[in-house]
Symmetry: D3
């Protein structure tokens, strides 16, 4: 049996993430989606809570009839501020896995140390499909809904995410107190 | 739409837990199963890691054809050692819910404070189906497999859980150093 | 100028504490009342939150016309789990002081290390006026209101403290899960 | 009965803060002044310890005969690095309140979530009365004493705050090691 | 090259520990002595600070001319309260090792998981040479100095350890507050 | 007897650090080398784990026949994020000392508060011998081995430190996710 791990912050969950999950589900029998930095929210780079991000993912995957939910777990993991111990921490928080799906250098650096097998999902419109760019488009008032699944659109609308992001942007531009 | 929350430590996941989940799934559309004290393991009262407990639950529910996995989330939550903030912490870690399924006084005490609706699942062989008693039966060499789903049996066998529990029992009886 | 420090957990604030404060205010010009273990509540030994304990103290002292509130500070301090650093932690959290009022051996042990001047307030009905005994009387349904100021009585009534304590007592007697 | 909450970092306590407190005391019966980020000090943006900041506030308010100290509490609160739980944490650390006095967007964002009533004190010489600008004036050797109460001036002098700030400025400009 | 790890709490460092170190130095080229629970002190079971325990070990080993100090490291490690990650944490805190010297079941349980080679030093007067028993003898006023090296005796005398232990014993017997 | 403290992050250990140690060993009988920020690694400014840094120091000092290892301790200390308590924390983690060797303003600021004696080692090729510059030279592909002892060179080679640093540099330049 093979089980994969796909790690992201999902701020927010977008079509690039969705395409990685589809790719991974073609390679392994079971897949664990780790919602990283789960304790962080209400920051410009991390506007959404773990609960909101889990719901974005769950709703988006529920809408896809090709996905078998028996094969999926969505697990939030808080940071533990000791980088070198992070991969050991993940290992006790989720069922045993044999493959990590990752594009980012940091995940690769930390899991390489362990000798875990790492697979890079093919890039899918990498220039557009990035949390950073999507957050920027939302702030700039540009169109962004075509870059995320309907589940993500719905959650952002329900929690009034656009105006939260704008308030966080005001805060991060700072104001003496 | 209604979403429920069912909280347990699941040390290990047993048939009483399974029966609560069946009960809850009859009352709400979606159910979030919270694996509490997720950071704790390798203690006599908490022998199994979060990953192992999640797997016990997932495998046991996968074996039940009546369960619709689109309606389920299994979320590990670490303790945060400030009791009064615990229910607020859970609220940001999981999607919004309206009902908490709980039998234990402590969960009821902390969620009551918030005005959350609490439902007590009917007791199901409460005398037998208790994590404490099952751990004790394992230690005493009594039959215990009839008290847990096959998924739990399989995980305990794979991680050599019986001998881990016995080692932890030796440790807790203490030995000067 | 002299400033004193009086440390307690105040679970709950009782007439013995009040009499220590009266004693201390006769010895120093300013007094800082430290509400220790401020992060802990909803435990059998620590039923009340920091906010509730601060209110017990504030209301009780407000009711005493002899007390000059310009001379008082009430400061909650969380535990920091490294005993030897605790007195250094208190020193940065409160204005500078020269005298510690303390009866308990542990406070004396940790502040002695620093060379701080320690004064023991005279014992005042020590057998009766103890948080442990008052919590026990509440649980046993015995009369307890004569042992605490009116402010404490009022706060316990408002937060339904008696039934909280009874629920915590049920919990601590344990119940397998 | 109405009780208000006024939150600041008070690095240092200045006349703008004082004017907010005067405003708030006209609106509520009791006022809790929360000294935020209490665990932080000896940083360029946060030079003063909680104890020093509490003393600035206490001394400044003691000097004002119009203030009734029975109505006031000054409570240091440490950060808890999980933004969404911060307002829940404050709620257990202080007596119950019904109004929050706040100008900054972040406090408003987090308390809005809870449905707490938020009142914005009128801006008072906002351009001048800002902790950031006052720290900058101190570093630049400009006049700053007219922007803070006498209590703040006295504390800064006693702890040699000007030279501490200059040392912290040297540090933050960095130096390879 | 071979490097060993020897872990203990050393409350206090006694002749049994010394004999384990001698044994280990016969098996490996380099030895790392880990002073565990380094953040804990001033408790009945853990009376001494990490600094005091390090000094007990260092002074005792300095007194033994057979020991080559180039081969030794003494490293304090704080607990990290997530048992399953503890061995991963140790691995980043000390130079790479290939052998763990351990008698206690818990260390063996956690390192076994990793596949690390574990060697049990031969028991040396196990009935007498135990931290628990030595602390008890000190408290009971029995002779204990023959059970620890001169370095340990000297440190305990210098920090007035006997009276600290007696104060901690009074505290742990409890006293209502 | 006199004992000194020399604190650094040692990212990596270089000839400037070595020369400070030689200087300090001429002034005090015993020397404690504190490896600061021990919990941090795998960051651009802090690439190496505590274990790796300890090994750099140990191997480099072992290679110097003039050094008496009985006089030395190498102690990793984790940050504790409350600056004002840091010097108190160090005091319990290491044996008692009377002199601190320090060049950096921050260490001087925090220890000055305590009245500890501070000695500044003479600057030794300060322009070249800096961790920041050495990390930059490694990243830029410039010669750097002449700036560190052989022990440091060997450890960096063994853990493939040059390529780790380059990966961390890629990460810190960021990439949207």
């Amino acid at each position: 049996m093979s089980r994969g791990l796909f790690i992201g912050r999902f701020q927010p969950f977008h079509l690039g993430h969705k395409s990685c999950i589809d790719f991974a589900l073609g390679k392994v029998e079971d897949l664990i989606i780790v919602v990283g930095s789960s304790q962080i929210s209400h920051e410009l780079r991390n506007p959404f809570t773990a609960g909101e991000r889990i719901l974005m993912i769950k709703d988006s995957l529920n809408a896809d009839p090709k996905i078998d939910h028996k094969k999926l777990l969505i697990i939030p993991i808080a940071d533990i501020n000791i980088h070198s111990v992070w991969s050991a921490y993940i290992r006790i928080m989720v069922p045993k896995y044999d493959t990590v799906f990752a594009n980012d250098t940091f995940t690769k650096l930390l899991f390489n140390k362990d000798g875990t097998k790492i697979v890079e999902p093919p890039a899918h419109r990498r220039m557009e499909l990035s949390g950073t760019l999507i957050r920027k488009r939302i702030l700039d008032g540009l169109r962004w809904t075509h870059l995320v699944p309907l589940g993500t659109q719905r959650v952002i609308r329900e929690v009034d995410g656009v105006s939260r992001l704008k308030q966080l942007s005001v805060i991060s531009r700072g104001s003496g107190t």
